[in-house]
């Protein structure tokens, strides 16, 4: 499902300086697996997720996701790829604060040319299943942390992507909300999604839902 081959990512800084975020990383993740990328801040976890999501290109090496070399995708194809294949959950959720919860969820479907009523219906169903039914019309900035996270999850799932990528999804949540999120992960996993979570939250490793832990240290697999 996901295969990285000898991937390096170097971010150039001013002058001749640069930061090596990933160095010669090779790994593969099977379909339906729930994998946790473990590592301290700055270890390269987010870069790895961004590469899988075709949000950035490697400096060398290849990234193949769902049979496509996404490292080579021109930007216009990368957008389509992300919309159709990837659901992304960010640490700070990245919702548009001045849009309502339901509008945030419908956004990724607008370029798909589905009818507006179908899009609303899908967004409504998924928000309802995540327990945000009563706050559909509330602006995202007025939602609590837990609600924002559920809206972010709904936005990631609304396009029915095969792969869910989550970057520190519980970093700003308390223990109860984190446990709620873990329950949602179980549901996603049961529906056959491939899930990759970048986190250093020890709770994930204690609950036994993770198939595999990949440890990253200084841009290399440990």
């Amino acid at each position: 499902m996901i295969r990285l081959t000898n991937v390096s990512k170097i971010y150039p800084l001013s002058g001749a300086d640069s930061v090596t975020a990933l160095e010669n990383v090779s790994l593969s993740i099977r379909e339906g697996e729930l994998v946790v990328l473990k590592g301290i801040s700055g270890s390269g976890k987010s870069t790895l997720l961004a590469l899988i999501a075709a949000m950035t290109k490697p400096t060398s090496g290849d990234v193949v996701v769902a049979g496509r070399s996404v490292a080579k995708l021109p930007d216009r194809f990368a957008s389509d790829f992300r919309r159709n294949t990837i659901g992304m959950i960010f640490q700070k959720f990245n919702l548009l604060g001045d849009l309502s919860a339901i509008d945030n969820v419908t956004l990724p479907l607008i370029p798909t040319h589905e009818s507006a009523s179908d899009i609303k219906e899908r967004a409504y169903r998924i928000l309802k299943s995540l327990g945000v039914k009563k706050r559909l019309g509330s602006l995202a900035k007025h939602l609590s942390g837990g609600e924002q996270q559920r809206v972010a999850i709904a936005r990631a799932l609304v396009g029915d992507p095969a792969i869910i990528l989550a970057d520190e999804p519980t970093a700003s949540l308390d223990r109860k909300l984190t446990l709620d999120f873990v329950e949602m992960l179980k549901t996603m996993k049961q529906s056959g999604k491939t899930i990759v979570i970048a986190t250093h939250d020890p709770l994930f490793f204690d609950l036994g839902i993770v198939d595999r832990v990949i440890e990253i240290d200084g841009g290399r697999l440990a």
Partner: protein
Amino acid sequence: MSAFLTPDTLVLLLIEGLLLALMAVLLPSLWRLARRFDIGRTTPEQYALEKRAYLAGTLLRFMLWVKIALFVYFVYALDHLSGVITGAMCAAGVINAWDYGPLLLGWKLAGLYLFGSWLVLHRLDLSRENLPFSRLKFRLALGLAAFMGVEFALLIGYLDALDPATIVSCCGTLFSTANVSALGTLLAIPKAWLLGVFYALFALIVASALLRRSGLAALFSLLFLPVALLAIISFFSTYVYELPTHTCPFCLLQKEYGYMGYLLYFLLFAGTFSLLSAALAAKLVQEKARFALGLWLLGGFVALATWYPVGFYLKNGVFL
């Protein structure tokens, strides 16, 4: 006063010079891309080349669109210069004031088709995930750079040779059947024959496009271009001027005739190019050729050209 110092030519030279300078800046990148670009590789060099290819492609696309638009300004400037060059009544006299003037015009005309073809290739390349034509298009871009260099040299030579004090021939002399030249010989072809070939070729273009015969549509479009130009000079223009002895392709560009030439030539050039590029695209990406736009443009050209003699006949009851 030198022809260099007219506002039109200064603007023309400035823009052409800037575009050539930009092309010179791009040349090292084009050279690397033409030699080293290989989408199959995953090396740091290849990823760097892919970024460079995007930038170079975007700049080239901008430059070539400007070049295409600049052709219209070039023709306008030529027409305007007829007020400065002694004896010139329109752009015909101005362009023939230097032996290589017609070559410059032909070069620029060929440039329209070459630049347009590159833009089509660029669009096709970007429309595919694996950028299949990148290396080819950057190799061709190197050729375009050389083409633009020659064009600029011709333009400088031409403007330098223009002498306002030297009397040049007017279009009445240049486009006369009495003119002892290849053009004079062509203009002596009987009009009935010429019109027969003109309409027959148009019919063949329509038929081959409707039958999706890309190669034939392209071939007939190529043949149609010179025949149509000859038909404009020899026949249709006389009905625009309403004067049987006035056969000039350039006076059509003047205000007295409602700048009709700009529309007529746009339809002809854009139409033939559209058909040629549709055939080229169909060949390259193995898809159905999209001839509709070309057929509409060329149909518009034929209808507009035909309207003048028909309108004249309806108004006066006779042909010229």
